[in-house]
Symmetry: none
Subunit: 292 residues, 2 copies
């Protein structure tokens, strides 16, 4: 019983375990946040079992003891969020198919990025971002323009001087005022978007560093200094929105997180200020992600 994360193991236990184990697993899954903090006496009482059973249960799940078990629950909560982990609902076939299509597509798209992305390039890009005096993100079309906006959204929080442009003319115009301290993020799923390619050419002419997030070996990839390959698989399912967006978001998050860590704790000050500035909008719930 050491398969997957602790929640998965709990699920398996809730299904296959002995009577006492089932009850315990159910109680815990029903409220992980509670279970991660409650003393085992409470848990034992709720599940109607004895305390030693709880200890044994934790060991059976591959933990060193109750404390280690709680430690792992805390970590799961940190990643998965502080909400409950209810049993997945039973679906009818059609609903399940839609859910699977979207979810499998998204997961696969991100997995592909994981497999192929060159983190040394990401690190290099983060370094460029930190050192740039002026950053632009270009993207046109449904997927790529979202990318440009997101890139702006993620980096501006870190205090970086970034502007996203989804309009072709604005892209060209802003490229024309670049210099060697500028950094361009050029995003295009196809690698064929004319305005983006041209803008990269213009910006380079004036000495800007250019990073393309695009299809490998595309025109755009060739035009830029650095390319992060981003493959959008042709959609087999015509009704399903393309899962490439998840891959793009993933790459953007990698860049944002790497950049944030490069900058170090001082970015927290910027995030704090943003949060304070939102308090005037009645959205100051602390602990909530910054900016709705």
């Amino acid at each position: 019983m050491t398969t997957g994360d602790i929640v998965n193991r709990l699920r398996i236990c809730a299904a296959d375990g002995s009577k006492a184990e089932k009850r315990l697993a159910e109680i815990i899954l029903a409220d992980i946040s509670y279970a991660s903090k409650a003393p085992i006496a409470d848990l034992a009482l709720r599940a109607g079992v004895s305390e030693p059973t709880v200890t044994r249960f934790c060991r059976a799940l591959g933990c060193e003891g109750v404390r280690d078990f709680k430690f792992q629950l805390a970590q799961v909560l940190a990643i998965g969020g502080l909400y409950l982990f209810p049993e997945p609902l039973v679906r009818d076939e059609r609903d399940a198919r839609v859910l699977d299509a979207v979810s499998d597509g998204a997961t696969a798209a991100m997995q592909r990025v994981r497999d192929v992305i060159d983190m040394s390039v990401v690190n290099a890009v983060a370094e460029m971002a930190v050192n740039a005096k002026h950053i632009c993100a270009y993207g046109s079309g449904g997927v790529s323009s979202m990318g440009a906006v997101e890139m702006q959204n993620r980096l501006f929080r870190l205090g970086l001087p970034i502007v996203g442009h989804t309009d072709g003319q604005m892209q060209r115009m802003s490229a024309a005022v670049c210099d060697k301290h500028s950094l361009i993020f050029a995003i295009s799923a196809s690698g064929q978007a004319n305005s983006v390619i041209e803008s990269v050419g213009i910006a380079r002419q004036y000495g800007a560093r250019t990073v393309a997030i695009t299809s490998p070996d595309s025109d755009l990839a060739k035009e830029a200094d650095v390319a992060l390959p981003f493959i959008i698989a042709p959609d087999t399912q015509l009704f399903k929105p393309t899962s490439g967006r998840y891959a793009l978001l993933f790459i953007i998050d990698l860049i944002a997180m790497t950049t944030a860590e490069l900058i170090g704790p001082s970015v927290l000050e910027g995030l704090r200020r943003i949060r304070i500035s939102l308090s005037g909008l009645n959205m100051s719930d602390p602990g909530r992600p910054v900016g709705d």
Copy 2:
């Protein structure tokens, strides 16, 4: 002393605290992973202080006690950045951490949606979308405005008359011209965004159907006819972009795909035309997702 996350507070303490506090904070920061599991007797010994001092120290940092303190350390570690580690992480290890943090977060967020989403609501929403004469998507702020734009992007391809508004005034204005054939998608991660809540109120007054994609039981959820719960976990890791965006994208895709299937094969005609119209932009690669 309740500013920022626990690590930040430890840092402050290491700088400003009393003699014993400084020593403790240093010991802990030097190896958070150890500190999160060691009994306080060990910590006390290492820092050359007494056990009660450790307890008091934890309280001073805003924790309920030592156990709560360790709980928080565990959470920080789960997604911790490189700056948490005593020795700078080797590049590979650090890269793996960043990849894991982003990818696990995204996967968990989507899994959550899978587990709890009520597909009968999604189906009902799709039906509303198909029958509406006029659809608006509202969202403000980094996460939710992306949602509004994406909603527009996904549904307009299906030939539906949708407009996304991320500007508060435009939201109110467009809400004011709704009638009973209108459908509103109101997106807000917090459920507190004033312009969105008010616009829903206005639109309902004129007979529009309203769908909220928002935090359950929030003000916005109460204001709308139908609510799709969308929980964003509080950010425990300030450096990591919130993974809630993946959950939101996921919900939007579910709605888009369900709607597309409801409309049936005729949507393909719309997609075909969009593709043709792009050919003038040199982006007509067939088999590629429509619209970059």
